[in-house]
């Protein structure tokens, strides 16, 4: 008999707390008098509670980087990357030609490719990647670091940059001159990306100061510390911000 007085829709609206106050009281009175109905709505309420409890923890999980990436406007389209690369390669060739022509008694030993330019090219290629920004993710950092150290033949570390607003996305191995290159990628909460390019230098240069280069749209701070060359690149943050990050990297690598 309760079925006649309470529609199925009203029953659900009662379970979901979506009834007007007056009608709610009437339904509650019906439920109180009907054991079967009471059991049914109790089961429905328990279901809802169980579902909410089961999936509530998902709300507190950190948002995966790939989902944040999916909200990034695709500023750099493939043609833009190609244009940037062409620009940098041209610049490199011209720079090399000028360098060679003006060098007093050009040395027979081939000069290493310019660190900042190589780093900027790597940054331009990999930083716009949404799905495959790195080869090994930050979740396997120990493995990543061990692998890159082995390939470079020098102890490599991924600096922690959380204190300056960037976390490690992961890294990859790149071909370089003369040897392999370790490439780490970092990302801020807002999706800005920074890459750290590390290579072994042919000869021990001692220690150099920070140098700065504008390679097209990519800003680069680079320096050499004994046998390792470092370059920190970004197209997303200001020169000042990048300098702060470069200092953080330097301090961590030279405690």
């Amino acid at each position: 008999m309760s079925e006649a007085r309470i529609s199925d829709a009203e029953l659900h609206a009662w379970v979901d707390g979506r009834l007007a106050v007056a009608r709610r009281a009437e339904i509650e009175a019906e439920i109180a008098m009907d054991r079967e109905l009471a059991t049914q709505v109790a089961a429905y309420r328990a279901q809802s509670e169980a579902l909410r409890a089961a999936y509530r923890p998902v709300l507190d999980e950190p948002i995966p980087a790939r989902l944040l990436d999916a909200t990034r406007p695709q500023r750099r389209r493939p043609w833009a990357i190609a244009a940037a690369l062409a620009w940098m390669v041209l610049g490199g060739v011209a720079g090399w030609a000028v360098n060679e022509a003006t060098r007093p008694g050009a040395s027979p030993a081939r000069a290493q490719a310019p660190l900042a330019q190589r780093a900027a090219i790597a940054h331009a290629v990999y930083s716009p990647e949404v799905r495959h920004p790195v080869e090994v993710g930050a979740d396997q950092e120990a493995h990543l670091v061990a692998w890159l150290s082995k390939r470079l033949g020098a102890p490599v570390r991924a600096p922690k940059l959380e204190s300056v607003g960037f976390r490690l996305v992961g890294g990859r191995l790149l071909p370089g001159d003369p040897g392999p290159v370790a490439h780490f990628m970092y990302q801020s909460e807002k999706g800005a990306r920074v890459t750290l390019y590390m290579r072994t230098e042919g000869t021990d240069h001692g220690e150099t100061a920070f140098r700065y280069a504008d390679e097209g749209t990519v800003r680069v701070f680079y320096w050499v510390d004994r046998k390792l060359g470092y370059a920190l690149s970004s197209a997303d943050i200001s020169r000042k911000q990048l300098y702060t990050l470069a200092n953080a990297v330097y301090q961590q690598l030279n405690p």
């Binding site: 659900h12 009471a38 059991t39 049914q40 429905y44 279901q47 999936y55």
Partner: protein
């Protein structure tokens, strides 16, 4: 808050819904990612001032329905699998795994309605708008989903003492 920040603020809810909808966490995040990419591609179609959450859930619904349809070309989906009763563990408590299994065996359209109502606390009108179906359809899907879940979990017996294991 920029529009992008508004979208990011909704990601945890999109993930929760997707996790309940497709169960496998990786596949759930794939669904969220496809939804976000689709949304970004047609963001100009969103009217500022209207409900961004409803808009994103509508996109997710469309993406998911397309995925299910595509998968169906390869395998017959067990949307209407026999409703085996999943009994609780010995102490009668409802285990999380049982709940997920029962949810998984609901037909997709019923599961969507139940989750939007229960997890997202959407009104029946909002659910109808998000899924582009009449409100009567929403009510009948909700009714069937709840009845099936009840049968699956406790065989339709008295469940007043149903307990939740968190």
């Amino acid at each position: 808050m920029t529009e992008r920040d508004q979208v990011i603020a909704l990601i945890p809810r999109l993930r929760r819904y997707a996790r309940a909808l497709v169960r496998d966490p990786g596949a759930a995040d794939d669904l969220v990612q496809d939804t976000l990419e689709r949304a970004l591609g047609k963001f100009h179609l969103w009217k500022p001032g209207t409900d961004l959450r409803a808009w994103l859930f509508t996109i997710m619904h469309n993406v998911h329905v397309n995925q299910v349809r595509r998968r169906r070309e390869f395998a017959v989906l067990d949307d209407e699998a026999p409703e085996l009763s999943v009994r609780g563990s010995q102490n009668g408590a409802l285990a999380l795994r049982d709940l997920q299994s029962a949810l998984e065996r609901l037909p997709n359209d019923q599961r969507e309605v139940l989750l939007l109502v229960v997890l997202e606390d959407m009104s029946y009108q909002e659910v109808a708008a998000s899924l582009a179906v009449p409100i009567g359809t929403v009510m009948s899907r909700l009714s069937r989903a709840r009845a099936k879940l009840r049968v699956a979990i406790d065989g339709g017996e008295s469940s007043a003492q149903l307990q939740i294991v968190k």
